[in-house]
Amino acid sequence: MSSWSLARLIQRTGRVAEAAPTTPKQAGFEPPGELRGSVQVRHVDAGSCNGCEIEVGAAFGPVYDVERFGARLVASPRHADVVLVTGVVTRNMAEPLRRTVDATPRPRVVLAVGDCARDCGAFAGGYGVAGAVDDVVPVDLTVPGCPPEPDQIVAALRQVTGR
């Protein structure tokens, strides 16, 4: 695509982000004050079917645009404030998940996204399943759904950023 047609495309497309919905506060979760307004997210796929990944991707995409609330994906848990975990925790991912959370500087929030992450969902009792995320690391916030709507993921992250 030539630069000119790219410029035309940008001009024609304009804003694709949808208007921000107003979200109710989830009871029982008080975000750490340090994280107000800025949250960096490290995503860990602990054994997901990739359904949640698609939704997480959509939440960070231009339409839902969670970046407008100050949340950003980063490459290392050392840079992160939120560890976003999807899927049941498989036996092979239990230790890496523990290490990832340990590698995240405090204050930090562990966010379990999807039914599998909350209570193993459809995979409960599977031979390779070590448990839900809560069985491996302490979880601060959960998003239900199989898979959850991007809106719900955005809403959960907004709980943390407070915006």
């Binding site: 860990v44 848990p77 050392r78 890496p96 998940l97 290490r99 590698a103 500087p105």
Partner: protein
Amino acid sequence: MSPVTAGLVAQPVLAVVAVLAAVLPRPRVRSVAAGTAAAALGLSGVVTGLMALLGDRGRLQIPVSLPVQLPLDPLVLAPDRLGGVFMVVAGGVGALAAIYGIGYAHGPAASRTGWTAFVVFLLGMQMVPAAADSVSFLLAWEVMAVGSSVLLLADHTARPQVRSAAVWYAGMTHLSFVLLLAGFAVLASSAGGTSFADPAGTSSAATSTAFVLLVLGFGTKAGLVPMHVWLPRAHPEAPSHVSAAMSAAMVKMGVYGVLLVVVRLLPAGPRWWAVLLLVLGAASALFGILQASVTSDLKRLLAYSTTENVGLMVTAVAVAMLLRDAGQDQVADIAWVAALLLVVSHAAFKTSLFMGAGSVLHGTGERDLDRMGGLGRAMPTTSAVFAVAAVGAAALPVSSGFVAEWTLLQSLIHGDGQVDRLVAVALPVTVAVVALTAGLALLTFVKAYGIAFLARPRSDGAANAHEASVSMRAAMAAGAAGVIALGLAPGPVASALGAAVGAEGIGTVGLLGLDLPAADALLDPVALLLLAAAVAVPVGVVQARLARRRPRRDVDLAWGCGGVRLSPRMQYTATSYAEPLVRVFDDALQPSRDVTVGHAEESRYLVQRVEFHQQLVDVVEERAYTPVVATLERLGTIARRIQNGSIHRYLAFSFGALVVVLLAVTW
């Protein structure tokens, strides 16, 4: 008796004392006694040199008359200001190397021969810049060469490479001697005497011949490309305190020789002399640093970096000649001072670097950077010294190297190219060469320090490293202190050095800053440091407050993507660090790589092991020297037919020779 004369008498006397100490029976006592005496010899050189640099004149005539029918002037030792600079360098480096040697020298290097050769080497080196005529110059030169050759051979029974290195060194150093002898002979016949005070004749053919011979001779000693081949062999194989003295002081005698020729002996020459020096200097700087940046043998890296630095010095000299020739004397003066600053600065940081490398070798048994790592914890002093010296070598503020490079760049950008086409072409090219050299030097020394002293050990030797002994640490710390002191006080240093080459208008500004009115530029590192401190204070206050609130948390693992425990083998090595550079410059470096992939037995799709070999060659050596050496070897094989051990044949040879002589006599 003037102080300089006293110093000239004291040095041989101290050398005799040191030699007497060197023949003491017990190795431990011998090292301490001879090292201390040699350090005293070095210090006497420093004092004498300083006196000469500050303008004191002294003279020592050696009462020897040679029974030859040649126009020989008396043998005179009388250092001028320029000689004083180099005597300070030789003495200072020698003294540090001697102190370092007390703790470092062991085995053959601490033998009677080892210490005696060290003292002789040191004395020769200190006498070279004192010589005031070519015969005494060549005598001192040869004393220096012989002493260093013997020292180089110290470990020849332990490692066969030492022998090869010594052969190369002996060959090159005597090539240098022959060239110098020829050069001085041409000069003496043109001037009518061997004293440096005799004015050289005006015959351009003779002076140009002498110039080329002398520059090639001195260039060989200084390690200029393409005569540099002995450096990367000799420096790694010599004991480290000897490498330090050779690299930081002995090669400087080559630079002294070049300065002697262009400042004192043949001050007015055609322009192509300067161009010749510029080409030699620039080629050495670039080639040296390129090789240094890709090598992973620490001492070899330092040796190539010496070639680079000598290249920069000669470049500065050439620029000064060009500008002097173009009538821009004031800017030329800056370039002269830059050349001397480079000399002094290199002496300080290269001594420290070689001593640091020696401590690493001593503490780990490793010379290969690929097998080091994490030495900073076991060897804190060595690590700190190496870091300071590496900052100097990378020309970062505030170090001696920064001051020297800054002065050189100031002289380059203030040359007026509008009046002179040659200057207009030469200066931008030189700026580019100096800049690329500086950039690659930065990478080289980040690599050398970072790979060796940071992160985690890559071998057992590095894991079990131990710190150097007290005398070694003291000598290293003194060297590092020199690097910083020269970097903090450039004004007085540059003024003194300026006097040595007759440069005017080099002043001191502020406390210790360097002022170059001709370039409308000044540099006060102390003030820069104060400004840095001023901006650092708020940062420090914020940091301290934050640290009280949230302390640092210790964890077991570096972040390895949550996977298995990181192995030190997963770290970048020196070879991998330089890999992008090897790719960028693959035409100049001609790397040959060999990748062998081993498959598992079950399936060829499963990779079991991968072996990677990379070899980099010295292109100059391969193209210029290998064919010559091969031809010489072939000739040697042919010559074996003449000399086959048969007595009959030898008798026939003598008979034939006798007949030829008789015929020649009766002709």
